[in-house]
Symmetry: C2
Subunit: 186 residues, 2 copies
Amino acid sequence: MTKPLRADARRNRDLLLASAVRLFSEKGLDATLDAIAKDAGVGIGTLYRHFPTREALIEAAYRNELDQLCDAGPALLRELPADQALRTWMDRFVDYMTTKIGMSDALRAVIASGGDPYAHSRDRLNSTIEQLVSPLIAAGTLRGDVLVDDVLIGLSGIALAAGEPSQREQAGRLLDLLVDGLRFRG
Amino acid sequence: MTKPLRADARRNRDLLLASAVRLFSEKGLDATLDAIAKDAGVGIGTLYRHFPTREALIEAAYRNELDQLCDAGPALLRELPADQALRTWMDRFVDYMTTKIGMSDALRAVIASGGDPYAHSRDRLNSTIEQLVSPLIAAGTLRGDVLVDDVLIGLSGIALAAGEPSQREQAGRLLDLLVDGLRFRG
DNA sequence: ACTCGATACGGAGGAACCTCCGGTTGAGTT
DNA sequence: AACTCAACCGGAGGTTCCTCCGTATCGAGT
């Protein structure tokens, strides 16, 4: 799909990512990009070439954890009734976004970008939601005319607008509201 | 409520606001704060004292238009059936946020701040929503256990997450979803 | 092994941000 | 009118951001 990077480019990219993960968790998400570049032993220009925006770098750095979140979807389906699995996963989604302070900026970038290279994460999320929702649609609990992508954007909106720790409860109520909106009515 | 500003302080504040409104509409919302301060003929320090963050300045600059948005609430109620009035106003809300590019940053600040001095706008919005929603609750169309503030945050979330012009249609679907979630079920 | 585009690198530099504090001014008090 | 001090002003300066382009390196083809 994407042409393979030149050897030096790939090496530097990995160095940058490693440094980013380290510095982000050490000094918080507002670590300076200059510091990351220096830590990785590359020029600032190189950093910007690989990750044009701060969000792009954060997104890449957290992709692992995001994969974990997505993996939890099928796992929950095995352990819980489908409706509880969905709701639990939604909670985790919000927790994830809320916990990784500053991640919400990255999230917005990921979500907003239609066909960008960062669409990977978005696809991943969408397919997870798809898996969680489809059994409920089949069972007639949720309506069938809902676009998966709308659910994702809805979740993001909640995390974005009620992302402060003090608003966690409100976020919960909004998740209820969202699920209610999705519910099938005879 | 708030102690009256000293004469010079009030004068500078007004100058700053006037310059901000002018430059924002002239050069877009990414006009530099330095430029605004210079245009107003005050030091950058003065700007930061009155408006600690860029969002605070934007919020203040757009307060007029925001008031207009709120005024439209009662007006719509007079012209349309209550349910249509609500939905139309929601659309305007999203349009407003979407159109004033960069406003979403301000919005987030306004929304997120619990008891800040910028809570004024938030109160204004909440009371408008209250007016739009209460007739529908009285009529049994919407459920009565919904917090007005949740509706506001929900709206903000939609505007925040689906704020790109290309996502306008999706935002519409999400508004439908939100209203559905609010609907009373026998 | 060598050549030669294509690709990637590095970091200087200009722009914007935001803080900090010595100096100035408004408005009560005597 | 002179005094006083809390409140306000201004802008230099330290940080971070991000672009731009001359130089260095890769690797496919010969």
